[in-house]
Each structure stands twice: as structure tokens, then as C-alpha cells.
């Protein structure tokens, strides 16, 4: 009746740093990042893949890290919010979030930024409709959706300048 937790060694690259860890079969990528690596910038909320707070990039595309098992990330390249700025400087997109007032309580912001970054990688010049559709998986209870859309547009504009 007591669970015997068999762990398995996995290797992955997180924010350009190679990591080797022992992952339990039930362990999610979210808990690996937060609990084992202390990367708490990735947030936990619904744990069922609906809110987007735990959004990270896995092999170049975003996932809800609460829905990915840690063992599934074996061999993967993971980028979290902590991996975006290279020299302590915010990215253009992060700066645009602040300038447009797209951050209120900030709890969903890391996930929003990761989702917006992925959207711009897919669609470099999105329309308002494409932004709203592309960001639909990231809930913001403060209701900053208009400002988040503005931030994505502003980041595109800044990139074009």
C-alpha cells in the first residue's frame, strides 16, 4: 500500500544548461522545474492544462508543463521564463508587457509571455484576432487581455523599427 517510487534518470537542457535528474514516474515537468530546479517563475494553478500559468517551451513549442511528465522531457530542450533574458535585460516582449499595462497581479504573466513569444515565432505579424486566438489558453483573471494584445502588437512594432 505504501507507494514504492521508482525513479528514472533523465537528461534535459533547461535554459541552455544541461541537467541530469532522477524523475519519479508521476512527476510532471512543472514540478521538476519548480521543485527540483527551483525555477519558480513557471507558475502552478489549475494543473489540468486549462489556465496556461505553467506554460514553457519544450523543443521549441509551448506546452502546459503540468500536463507533461518529467520522463517525457528526457532529452528535451526546455526554455522557461527565467531563460528569456540573456544579460539580465528584459526582452522587448517583456518590456512591452510593462509599457502597455499588461501586468497586474503578475501571476499569469510568465505564462502569458511564454505564449506570446511562441505566437510571434509562428506568426511574426499577427492581427488582433490572431493574438486573441493564439493567447486563448492563458487565463488572466485581472482581465488584462486588451493590454496583453496591445503588448504583443507593441513588441512587433518595436521589432520592426
Amino acid at each position: 500500500m505504501t507507494p514504492v517510487t521508482q525513479t528514472r534518470p533523465i537528461r534535459l537542457t533547461v535554459n541552455r544548461i544541461p541537467r541530469q535528474l532522477d524523475a519519479a514516474p508521476h512527476h510532471t515537468l512543472l514540478s521538476l522545474l519548480r521543485d527540483d530546479l527551483g525555477l519558480t517563475g513557471t507558475k502552478a494553478c489549475c494543473l489540468v492544462g486549462e489556465c496556461g500559468a505553467c506554460t514553457v517551451s519544450l523543443n521549441g513549442r509551448i506546452v502546459d508543463s503540468c500536463l507533461v511528465l518529467a520522463v517525457e522531457a528526457d532529452g528535451a530542450e526546455v526554455t522557461t521564463i527565467e531563460g528569456l533574458s540573456t544579460d539580465g535585460q528584459l526582452t522587448r516582449l517583456q518590456q512591452a508587457f510593462l509599457e502597455q499595462g499588461a501586468v497586474q497581479c503578475g501571476y499569469c504573466s510568465p505564462g502569458q509571455v511564454m505564449a506570446a513569444r511562441d505566437l510571434l515565432a509562428q506568426i511574426p505579424h499577427p492581427t488582433v484576432g490572431e493574438i486573441r486566438e493564439g493567447m486563448v489558453g492563458n487565463l488572466c483573471r485581472c482581465g488584462c487581455y486588451e493590454q496583453i494584445t496591445d503588448a504583443v502588437l507593441a513588441a512587433v512594432e518595436a521589432a520592426d523599427r
Binding site: 500500500m1 489549475c46 521564463i81 517583456q94 501586468v103 497581479c105 486563448v136 489558453g137 487581455y145
Partner: protein, 763 residues
């Protein structure tokens, strides 16, 4: 002014949020911490026969399994209004999700596993989940009458009945009486950060971490329960990741504190989203409104009978009923009023404060009633409001704070922005509604500002910055008054052992009450600088002015930093200013205190309804609030539009669905929908009225709840305007709208008729 107040300074603390560096409660990692998990039953009300913890205790890593028997006896109870809520359920659970035990273990996994292995032998008992069932004769009682000694209502599920009124509603003659009953569902805050709590023994005291809006109230609660001096209870309150009222009062902090003391180690409990649904919600309501009108549209009287469905414990919800229902007559001149509002207990999760504090339910009912009246009177809904709106300075509620704004300007601006006078496009409808909410009725905020030797400053303020941007606002006030660049100011918040007392962060009070305390602290520093400069230059204080970073002598200006350097002398040091801002209680007032200010909002929408599916498409949504003076326009817009989006939640989609055992069937993010980026109006815009007529710094009023108040009534009115269907129940889901359309006797408006014809033609 110096040009800092009134500008859109970027959110202080923003970079840490967009980079993931900010540590919310759940991000803090303590050495040696135990992870806690709650044990709950699969029904609402049950008699607990026995609890067997032996299997749970055998799970490796489990350090503590706590039941009510392990707590001091009688089991301590707490609550902001009534000490009614036990730390763990005693003998009986009263709602689905009420913990009967809790486990603490070395790992989260072990705690979860052990929690599943706690065996509870229980028997489900008859329970009440609706207003009708709770008020029925012979209904099972939610609260033990022994907890309510001397209370004539103790033998019922009515916790309290609130009565307000003035004039005689039976006297004024009226030409038309409009009556309806309007319902509002149970909805929940759904802050994206689930509640998080930690506690640790600390010498002869305790430290408690919580994502709480009222850290000082929590400090008092814990101190009283543990019989500790306040000075031995330190509350650390990192910024909440969204609060909206749901994080005002203690939830599981008492439990984790008792667990930490028993285990002798820090204990951490982070709720799941599902558990936060069970930790707090908004009261559902059934509100009957009966309003008498003269044929010219002036209100003759209003009678309101309101039932608010509370949960099993009161939390702050009875105060919500009190304060919300008191404003049942809205911002109007109403010569006679009779208001009865009941706090009805039920076997459901406790309801509590939620943005609007009981007012959104009242505004939904009262403004829907106004819109129905406009149709029956044949008066334009905009005109009906303008005819009855209280004018600035008018005592619209006898004995209370008179109207503190030019509210007509707000209404006219909203009408102008929505294009009220423009011809209606085919198939669309427009709706308008106003909302008024009282600011705090009492309050006390202290602030300390330290101007350091190099001209930088540290500001202490006990407000919780949960997204409203309080830190930024206070920074801007200090920057304005002392001429310091914002990046040379540090804010200290969220630690009761360091930061002076603040009563609470609620009722949109902080810009006004704490803002005034910060302003006063800055003014004290200015006075000290004046005295310093006078001493240095051998002139009198009165010949010197201080402002905007400079000291003005009769013949020249000197930077504050220069005076500081010379004035402080070789030992250095600092100049300290203290501020205190009070809103006193008023004995005899129906709410024990008048409104510090009012939040006044007008919302107008233009909508289309899909007659085939009942789906509402919001084409335009306009929200205008009277804010007195914007300290930070970017943040004001964020609050106003954020409130509007949140209001669309309870208007269009949100509601708890309970089953026959009182379980929430749509528990969690999959089945309980909140607005996403795809649910926005096609065009959402906000605006403000600024007449600098508020009691806060530079004429500011509190804001951030106003934009939510009138959303539902405005949207429902637009649906009626477009289709002729009158709906008195929320949310306006496609199914409900579709049913209303199919039950509609005939299209009642030209727009509706046009739409019917268009549909017929297209078939």
C-alpha cells in the same frame, strides 16, 4: 504638480513579475518544511463517527496527521464577524470541502497519499443548498443555536436580517409600480494564484506566511487563538497573485499554524484550484425589487426584499449583505425606501467578499428593474436615469455622505461613447446601467517615509499590492512630494513586524486612505526640511517653501539633497516622516460609518443575439467611472477594463452547479469557465471623469470595483432591446437566452422584429 502624479509610471515591481523572479507564497522554499494536505468528505453535511489515521501515519515521510481531537478543546473557532468557523470540522462537516483532518509530510506526494488513507466513518445528513430550502419551515439548521445565545433568529437559518429605509413607502402616489425578482448565481474569485499558507515556530512566537489581503487582521486572529502577544506573531504577506476579496480573511492559516507548532517544523499548504473554489465564493442572491414611478419617470418609492445565500460559516459575508443591500436605491433620489435583506446560512462553501462587496447583485436587480420601468413608461433608459440621478452634494441617502461627484457627466460620457443617439444597426440592441458602491466606512492606515542622506527614500505601507498597483501609486506620491526619481524609492510592504499597521486592503481604499497617510508622511518630512533650511540659512520657516525636490528660499532655490547633506551634518542620518489616516466609525449610523467616498460607474453595451443559438455577441462595451483624479492613468484603465471583463464572467458564463449532495459539479478550470481572450467585446473601452473632488491625494477617489457593478444589467438590457426577451436570472448563457427567446410572446421591439423578419427571410 511635479509631473509624476497623473502619469503612467510603469508598475513598480513589474520587471520581477514578467521575468518570473517575484516570489509569491507558493514560490518560497523553507528548509525542513512539511507539506500539508487536507482531508475532506465526498458530501456537504455529514456526522463524523470516527476517524482512523493509522494507515496514513504509516506512510513513509508522514510526520503529522491532525484531527480536531489534536487541537485545543473546545476546538478554536475564528471569523471576522462571528467566531463560528472551527479550525477543523468538529463532529459534523457543514459544506463540501470542509476539512476533517490534515496531513503533513516530508513530500507533497507522501502527504497526498496519506490524506487518501485517512479513513473517516461518516453518515450523510439532510442539508440545505438553496435559499428556498434554507428558509423552509423545519429546515435542517446550519448553525448550532448554542453558538448564538440570546439571538431570536438562532432557531432559523437566517443569520441576520438587515432593515433600512426612510420615508413611508405606502404614502407617495405613483402612476406605475414595476416589480420583479432577479437572481444572481454563486461565482468564485478564481485568482490565478491559488491560496497559499505557511507557518513556522519562531522562538516564543510564530511566523505565518499567507497570500492575504489583510495581514494585520490575520496577525490579530492568530494572536487571539494562540493567546500570544501581537508582537510575537509575524505575518509575512507577499503580494497576492490576485485577490478580488477572496483573500481578505483567514482561511487555513490557523490550521497550518497549529500544525507547525505541533510538528515543531514549518508547514506549507498550497491549495489546489478546486480547493480554492471551496474556500470562498460570492453570495448568490434572490432580490425582489418593487419601484413606484410617477408618469414623468421620477421615482416615488422603492421596496426591496433581498435574500443572500451564505455558506456554512459567515466569514465577512453578513457585512457584505449589510453594505450591499443598504445601497439598494442606487445613486437616485428616492423619497421613500424600505429595504429588508437576509443573510441566509446554507450547507455550501462559505461566501465572502468579492469585488463589489454585495453591490453587483443589488445593481443587477435594481438596474434591471429600472430598464423594465423605462420600457413600460416609454421613457428612454438614459433619460430615466438622468431624471432621477442625485446631484453633487445632494443627500440621496438621508444621513449619509452626500453625492460626491458630478455623476451626470459620467452617464453622459458613457452614452456619448456608445453612440446612444446613433441609429441602431439592424439586429442589435443597446443597454445602459449605472452602479454605485460605498468606499470604506471605517479605516486606519499608517505610513512611514524615510528620506535617506543621499536623497533616496524608503516607504513603509501595509497595503497588499494584489495587482491594483498600490506600490506604484504610493511611489508616485512620494516622487511628487519629495522630488525623488521613482527608481530611487524603495517600498516595504507585507511584513507586520516591520511595516506600521494598516487596517485592511479592501473597498478600493488604499489610494485614498494609505495614499493620504503616505502624503502626510511626506508633508512631515517637508516641514522638517523647512526647519533644517531655516536653521542653515538663519531665516524663519515661514519664509521657506518645499516642493518638487527643491527648497525655495526667498532669493533662490536649493535642491533638497544639498540641504539634507548640510543639515544632517557629518554623522549623516535621515529625515523620518509619519502619516496617519483615519476614517472613524459613527455610532448610530446604519452601517456604523458613512461612506468615505463613492465609486460611481456607468456601463453601456451594444450587442447582437444569435436567435438560433442564444449566443450574445458584445459589439461594444463602454465603462466610465468617476475617479476624482487619476494618479496613474495606465493602471486606472487596467482596473476599469479588468473589472469589466470580470463582470462579463458572472454576466455570461460563470456559476456553480451543485448536486443533490451539495457538491460543486463544475469544480475546477475545465468545467467552470471564466472569460478568456476570445470572450472580450469586439470593442472595449473605458474612460473617466476627473473633477478632483475625492478625499484622497490630489482629489483622488477609490476605484477598481466600479467597472464590474453594472455590466450584467447593461448586457441584459441590450439583449432585451435586441430581441424583446426579458431575462431576470444570471448568467446569460446561450441556453438561457435561447429559452427566453423561444418563450417570448412576440418580438417587442422594432429591432427584434427586423431580426425575426431577417431570419425568416434567410430560411
Amino acid at each position: 504638480m511635479n509631473g509624476v502624479v497623473g502619469t503612467s509610471a510603469q508598475r513598480v515591481g513589474g520587471p520581477a513579475r514578467v521575468s518570473g523572479a517575484y516570489r509569491y507564497v507558493g514560490d518560497i522554499r523553507l528548509q525542513n518544511v512539511l507539506h500539508a494536505k487536507l482531508v475532506t468528505l465526498d458530501c456537504a453535511r455529514a456526522r463524523i463517527r470516527s476517524i482512523d489515521t493509522s494507515a496514513a501515519e504509516r506512510v513513509p515521510g508522514v510526520r503529522l496527521v491532525m484531527t480536531a481531537a489534536d487541537l485545543p478543546q473546545p476546538v478554536p473557532r475564528f471569523g471576522p464577524q462571528f467566531s463560528d468557523r472551527p479550525v477543523l470540522a468538529v463532529a459534523e462537516t457543514k459544506y463540501h470541502g470542509e476539512p476533517v483532518a490534515a496531513v503533513a509530510a516530508d513530500t507533497e506526494h507522501a502527504a497526498e497519499e496519506a490524506a487518501r488513507l485517512v479513513r473517516v466513518d461518516y453518515e450523510e445528513l439532510p442539508a440545505v443548498f438553496t435559499i428556498a430550502a434554507a428558509l423552509a419551515p423545519g429546515a435542517p439548521l446550519v448553525q448550532d443555536p448554542a453558538l448564538r445565545p440570546g439571538d431570536p433568529l438562532a432557531g432559523t437559518n437566517v443569520l441576520r436580517e438587515h432593515r433600512f429605509g426612510w420615508g413611508d413607502i405606502d404614502v407617495p402616489p405613483s402612476d406605475l409600480v414595476v416589480e420583479g425578482t432577479y437572481t444572481f448565481p454563486m461565482v468564485t474569485h478564481f485568482a490565478i494564484e491559488p491560496h497559499g499558507f505557511m507557518a513556522a515556530p519562531d522562538g516564543d512566537g510564530v511566523v505565518v506566511w499567507s497570500s492575504i489581503q489583510h495581514p494585520y487582521w490575520l496577525q490579530k486572529t492568530i494572536a487571539e487563538m494562540l493567546r500570544l502577544p501581537l508582537a510575537k506573531v509575524q505575518v509575512l504577506a507577499p503580494d497576492p497573485g490576485g485577490g478580488f476579496g477572496g483573500k481578505q480573511h483567514a482561511k487555513y492559516e490557523p490550521l497550518v499554524t497549529f500544525m507547525a507548532l505541533r510538528a515543531g517544523r514549518p508547514v506549507r499548504l498550497i491549495l489546489t484550484l478546486e480547493e480554492t473554489f471551496q474556500a470562498g465564493r460570492r453570495s448568490s442572491t434572490e432580490i425582489r425589487v418593487r419601484t413606484g414611478f410617477c408618469s414623468d419617470g421620477t421615482i416615488a418609492f422603492r421596496e426591496v426584499d433581498a435574500n443572500y445565500l451564505l455558506g456554512a460559516y459567515a466569514d465577512i459575508a453578513d457585512r457584505v449583505v449589510d453594505k450591499g443591500s443598504y445601497f439598494s436605491c442606487g445613486p437616485y433620489r428616492v423619497p421613500a425606501a424600505r429595504i429588508v435583506a437576509r443573510s441566509v446560512l446554507s450547507h455550501t462553501p462559505p461566501s465572502t467578499a468579492f469585488r463589489g462587496f454585495g453591490t453587483p447583485q443589488v445593481v443587477w436587480a435594481a438596474e434591471s428593474n429600472m430598464n423594465e420601468a423605462a420600457r413600460l413608461l416609454g421613457i428612454d433608459p438614459l433619460e430615466l436615469r438622468l431624471r432621477n440621478l442625485a446631484r453633487s452634494g445632494e443627500a440621496f441617502i438621508p444621513g449619509d455622505t452626500p453625492a460626491d461627484g458630478e455623476w451626470e457627466q459620467t452617464v453622459r460620457k458613457a452614452a456619448q461613447l456608445i453612440g446612444w443617439d446613433r441609429p441602431m444597426p439592424a439586429g442589435r440592441g443597446r443597454g445602459i446601467a449605472v452602479g454605485i458602491k460605498s468606499g470604506p466606512t471605517t479605516g486606519l492606515s499608517y505610513s512611514t517615509v524615510r528620506l535617506l542622506a543621499d536623497g533616496s527614500a524608503i516607504v513603509y505601507a501595509g497595503t497588499s499590492d494584489m495587482g491594483q498597483g498600490a506600490r506604484t501609486v504610493f511611489n508616485q506620491i512620494v516622487a511628487e512630494e519629495l522630488g525623488i526619481p521613482i527608481d530611487r524609492i524603495t517600498m516595504v510592504m507585507g511584513d507586520t513586524s516591520v511595516v506600521p499597521y494598516d487596517q485592511q486592503t479592501s473597498a478600493s481604499r488604499s489610494t485614498v486612505l494609505m495614499g493620504n497617510a503616505v502624503l502626510q508622511a511626506c508633508r512631515e518630512i517637508q516641514a522638517k526640511l523647512r526647519a533644517m533650511a531655516a536653521r542653515l540659512h538663519g531665516i524663519t520657516d515661514s519664509a521657506i517653501e518645499v516642493g518638487h525636490g527643491t527648497i525655495r528660499l526667498p532669493d533662490r532655490q536649493i535642491p533638497i539633497t544639498a540641504v539634507l547633506k548640510r543639515g544632517l551634518g557629518p554623522l549623516g542620518g535621515e529625515v523620518i516622516g509619519n502619516g496617519e489616516s483615519r476614517k472613524e466609525a459613527q455610532p448610530g449610523h446604519p452601517l456604523s460609518g458613512s461612506a468615505a467616498f463613492y465609486e460611481f460607474n456607468c456601463t453601456a453595451v451594444e450587442a447582437e443575439v444569435d436567435e438560433g443559438t442564444g449566443e450574445i455577441a458584445l459589439v461594444r462595451h463602454v465603462s466610465v467611472s468617476d475617479v476624482g483624479k487619476m494618479i496613474n492613468p495606465l493602471q486606472v484603465r487596467g482596473q476599469e477594463e479588468g473589472a469589466a471583463v470580470q463582470g462579463l464572467g458572472h454576466t455570461l458564463m460563470e456559476h456553480y452547479i451543485l448536486d443533490e449532495s451539495g457538491r460543486i459539479r463544475n469544480l475546477g478550470a475545465i468545467d467552470y469557465r471564466i472569460p478568456t481572450s476570445m470572450d472580450l467585446p469586439l470593442d472595449l473601452r473605458s474612460d473617466v471623469i476627473e473633477n478632483a473632488d475625492g478625499p484622497g491625494p490630489y482629489g483622488a477617489k477609490g476605484m477598481s470595483e466600479g467597472g464590474l457593478l453594472a455590466v450584467a444589467a447593461a448586457v441584459a438590457a441590450a439583449v432585451t432591446d435586441a430581441t424583446g426577451a426579458v431575462i431576470r436570472d444570471l448568467p446569460l448563457t446561450p441556453e438561457r437566452v435561447w429559452r427566453a427567446l423561444s418563450e417570448r410572446p412576440r418580438p417587442a421591439t422594432a429591432a427584434g422584429q427586423r431580426l425575426q423578419l431577417a431570419i425568416a427571410a434567410s430560411r
